[in-house]
Symmetry: C2
């Protein structure tokens, strides 16, 4: 998707943050992220980069993912035990997740009322929200039918 706009955001972020440098690796990782639909993990992204002939190290992938998080281009989640999952967040509305415990499928949820209610509850507690996740674990309709 609009990869160029994402480049701009990263460029602006790097410049505004003093000593941070624009390296080929960082843009390569960003491109791969923008090419990716849905959720992915660090290892998978690394594998796809290598397979596409991009020379990066795992360390750089992890570093860059953190960087991209900081400029709001990527979100990070921890649904299951072992590994962190990421997703492209540029150009996508804020949303939440229904996670099927049977098949691991993730259904996304966008809801204005939920956002509003959350904000309301935060101000009741004088809490200034920055980011949030709603994670509902359960069974999706497909798996439900199988049983």
């Amino acid at each position: 998707m609009n990869s160029e706009a994402a480049h701009d955001i990263l460029a602006k972020y790097l410049k505004s943050n003093g000593k941070r440098r624009a390296t080929t690796e960082r843009y390569a990782v960003l491109d791969e992220v923008m090419r990716t639909q849905g959720h992915f993990d660090a290892e998978g992204l690394y594998y796809r980069l290598i397979t596409n002939g991009v020379k990066v190290s795992r360390a750089t992938v992890y570093n860059t993912l953190e960087l991209l998080q900081n400029c709001g281009l990527v979100s990070k989640y921890r649904f299951t035990e072992n590994s962190s999952r990421y997703e492209r967040s540029y150009g996508r509305p804020h949303h939440h997740h229904l996670i099927c415990l049977e098949c691991g499928d993730i259904i996304e949820l966008v809801n204005e009322r939920l956002e509003r209610l959350q904000n309301e509850l935060c101000s009741e507690k004088s809490f200034t929200p920055q980011s949030s996740t709603v994670q509902v674990f359960g069974t999706c309709s497909r798996c439900r039918k199988k049983e």
Copy 2:
């Protein structure tokens, strides 16, 4: 708190689950959990057990925490990067978390409307919910003032 009732729940669960056995270690871990206020991690619980003269291994602590999760006595969360956090869930309403990124404080949130809205959204997607967490990351009022 009502540790005896919790014992009963565990006993019932063990019996109903065929081959599972009631060991001293399991009850010792449960007792320590019931004695704990707020959130804790596996290592901390292990440490407190050892310090109190209870002989258990880390492996058993992890095992038992999973067991207690399965009978609904304990909930598990993954707020931060590294380690899982647990909390006693027996005798407590379902609630959510506002997590302060400055001081790490966790504010609990109980709200009926939020629960209802969640359930509504699930049925729209024909999703059968089992458990859920809402995690809002931000700044608490105390840290807000400091800035």
